[in-house]
C-alpha cells in the first residue's frame, strides 16, 4: 500500500504549502520500497499520534526564543496543536526547535542534547542564525547553520520568524511525520557499541580509586 502523497493538515490545503516538490520527492523515495497494507495502516495510526504530539524541548539561545514564548502565549497558542507540553529534559522531548544563534562553543552542547533525545526526534532550525548563521556569518565564533552539526527537518527563516511562521514550520514538520514508516525503521534496539570499552574504563577507575 502506497503512502498517502497528500497528508491532510487541518485548515491548510495541500496546494498552499510551499516546497511541495521536496516533499513529493521524499514520499516517492519512501514509496519506492512498497509496504504491506496492515503494516501501513498501523503506521498511519502511529504517525497520526506522533505528528499531533510533538513536544518541544525548551531550547533557546537568543531572540527567537522570545518569539517562541510568544507562540506559547495566548494570542498564538501553540497548545491548539497539542505542542504546549514543553519538556526541559531532552529525554522526553520529540522536537528540538533550534531558536537562535549557535556558536562554536555551543555546538558540542547542542549535539549532545540531540544525542540525548529519544527516537523519534526531529529538528527545526528557527531563524536566520540557525538556518545559515544569519547576520553573523562572518563571525569567528558562529556556526553557519545548524545543519553542520545535526540533521535538520524543517527550516524556518526570519529574524526572528513571526509566530505564524513558527506554526507553519511546525505544520510542515507534521506533514513530514505523517508519511514516515515506523516498523523496521526507527525505535530499533541498537547494541551499545561502547559497552565493553566503557566497562573496562569503569573497572580501571575503580581500581585506581581503591589503590588511592
Amino acid at each position: 500500500m502506497a503512502i498517502n502523497k497528500r497528508p491532510k493538515i487541518k485548515s491548510i490545503p495541500y496546494e498552499e504549502f510551499k516546497d511541495n516538490e521536496t516533499f513529493e520527492r521524499l514520499v516517492a523515495e519512501l514509496n519506492a520500497k512498497g509496504t504491506n497494507v496492515i503494516v501501513r495502516k498501523l503506521d498511519e495510526l502511529i504517525d497520526w499520534g506522533r505528528s499531533n504530539s510533538l513536544w518541544p524541548l525548551t531550547f533557546a539561545t537568543s531572540c527567537c526564543g522570545i518569539e517562541f514564548m510568544a507562540v506559547c502565549a495566548a494570542r498564538y497558542d501553540i497548545a491548539r496543536f497539542g505542542f504546549e507540553v514543553t519538556r526541559n529534559s531532552p529525554r522526553q522531548a520529540d522536537v528540538i526547535l533550534v531558536s537562535g544563534t549557535i556558536t562554536t562553543k555551543m555546538a558540542p552542547v547542542l549535539r549532545r542534547l540531540y544525542d540525548q533525545m529519544a527516537d523519534p526526534k526531529y529538528v527545526v532550525a528557527v531563524g536566520g542564525c540557525a538556518v545559515s548563521g544569519g547576520p553573523f556569518t562572518k563571525s569567528y565564533h558562529v556556526v553557519n547553520g545548524v545543519d553542520n552539526i545535526i540533521p535538520v527537518d524543517v527550516y524556518v527563516p526570519g529574524c526572528p520568524p513571526r509566530p505564524e511562521s513558527f506554526l507553519y514550520g511546525m505544520m510542515q514538520l507534521q506533514r513530514k511525520v505523517k508519511v514516515e514508516n515506523f516498523f523496521g525503521t526507527t525505535n530499533r534496539k541498537e547494541k551499545d557499541p561502547y559497552r565493553d570499552t566503557m566497562a573496562e574504563k569503569a573497572e580501571e577507575i575503580y581500581n585506581e580509586e581503591e589503590q588511592a
Partner: protein, 568 residues
Amino acid sequence: MNDMNMEKKGEAQAAAQPQAAQPKAAPAAAPAAARPAAAAPAQPAKNQIEPECVAPEALRERMETLKNKEGYDFLENLTGFDWEADGLGVVYQLASTADPSRRVNLKTLTTDRENPYLPSVADLWDIANIYEREVYDFFGIRFTGHPDMRRIFMREDWVGYPMRKDDETEKNNPLRMTPEPLSDFTETYTLQSDGTVTKSQRRLFEEDEYVVNIGPQHPSTHGVLHFRVSLEGEKIKKIDPVLGYIHRGVEKISEKMTYPQTLALTDRLDYLGAMQNRHALCMCIEQAMGVEVSDRVKVIRTIMDELQRIDSHILFFSCLCQDLGATTAFLYGFRDREQILDIFEETCGGRLILNYNTIGGVMADIHPNFQKRVKAFIPYMRKNIKEYHDIFTGNVIFQNRAKGVGVLTKEQCISFGCTGGTGRAAGWHNDVRKLRPYAAYDRVQFNEVVRSEGDSFARYMIRLDEILESLNIIEQLIDNIPEGNFQEKMKPIIKVPEGLYYSAVEGSRGEFGVLLESKGDKSPYRLHYRSTGLPLVAVMDTACRDNMIADLITIGGTVDYVVPDIDR
C-alpha cells in the same frame, strides 16, 4: 499627520501635562538640563573622551588614589584595545557616584605583544575581575595580581586572541565538536619586585565538592548561560559563571562593517532593548560627527525607548512568574506585551528586532495610527499593572520567596557596576536619563524609582513601578510630537572623525554604553559595548551565596539579565 498637535517645541515643555506623580528627587544635575547646541565640526564632539595616559608601573598607585581618596567608586567601563604598532592597552572609565558630573578616563598600554602584562585593579572594583578576564580572553593581556586569570567567553582550548588585529582566528580554530574542557584550576600572575612575573595555580572547586552544572541549556538561565554551582545540601556555596555560549563576536565583525551596517547588530545584543541599544550607537555616531537630529526624531526615539522599556519589564515580570512556577501570570504578561508589539509592528515592521533608528534619524515616520494606539495603550496598561499586583505581587508565597532574598547593598552594586533596576533597588541613583539627559528626557518630568532594600522583592517592584513611570513619560510626549524631518540628510558614506567617543543610554536593565574609536574611516577601528548584563552576572556569586538553589532562580530572575547582551 493631521491629528498631530502643532505646538512648537517651546510650548511642548509647558507643564500642561497631568502630574500624576510629583518628582520626589530634586531635578537632575543642572548642567545636563541645558539644551544641546548644534556642535560645530571644529569643536571637539560632545561625547569625545581623551583618556589620560598612565604608565603601567604608575597605574596601581594612580588608581588607588582615584578610588580611595578622590571617590571614583564606579568603574563604568574597562575596555581592551589593540593599537597595533602602539601596543595593547586598556581604557578605564571611572565615575563618582557621589557627584555624577565627575568622570575621569585613563588609559594604559604595553608594547610587548608576546607576553603583555598589565597590573590588575580587580581588588579595587569587584567588576574589574570579570572585565579583565574579558580583556585577557580577547587580547591576551595578562593582569598581574588578578586572582582568577582564565578565559571567560572562548573555550579553554581556543588558540589565539580573537580581537587582536593580527589574529588568524579562523585558521587556528576549526569547529571543535569535542566536549568543552573545563578546568578546576585557575591561574594567578604575580609581579615580583625584580620585575619578573610568576605564575601560580589555585583550585576553584575541591575534589569532594558537590558541583552541579546549571546550564548551558537550562530553563531558568534565560538563555545559554552556564553556572557551576557548588552545593551543600540545598545551600549554594559558590557560583562560577561560564559565559560565551552565545558570544557572536559582534564587536569584531563591526570592525569590518560600515557604520550603517554595524547598526543592525545592536538590536541583536539585548533584544529586549533593541530600540535603546540602537539609539545609543546612533547617538554616539551622530554626536561624534556633529550631526544634530530634529526634535521630532528626539521625541520619537524617547517614546520608542520607553515603549521598549515597558515591553522588557513586562517580559521580566512574565519570566519571573514562570520561573517561580506561576505559569498563569506569565501568560497574562504576554497578553499585554502583544499590544506593544502591535504598535511597534505598525511603525517599524518588526516585532522584536526593530531596526528603527538610523544615523541621523529614524527609518520611517510614525504610522498615522501610532498616537491613537499608544494613547489607548496607556490606560490599558495602568489597569493591568493593578492586575499584576493582585495576581502575583500580593501572593504570600511570592513575598516569602522574594523578600530578604539575595540582598545586595548599595556599595556592592556600585562596586559591581550593577546599574539599572538592580542598582536602584539598593538605593543607588544611577538613571542615565536623569544624570546625563539625552534625546527628549530633559523636557519631561518623571521620577527615578529608587528603593532601599536591595532584595529580590525591591528589584521586582522597581520594574513594575518603572512601567508606570514610562507610561507617564509617554503620556507627556505623545501629544507633543513636534513637526520636523524624521531623517537628517546624511552623506552617502558615513565617516566619523578620528577620536574616541562614548555615549550611554538607560537601557531596559541598566546603562548601555557605546565606546567607539575611529581612525576617520568608514568603519570603526574599535567598537565596544558596555553590556548591561555582564555586571549582573558577575554579582550572582555574591548575591546567591548561602541561599538555596530555588533562590538562585529568584535572584537570577530579578536581576534580569539577557544572555546575548552579556556575551555580545
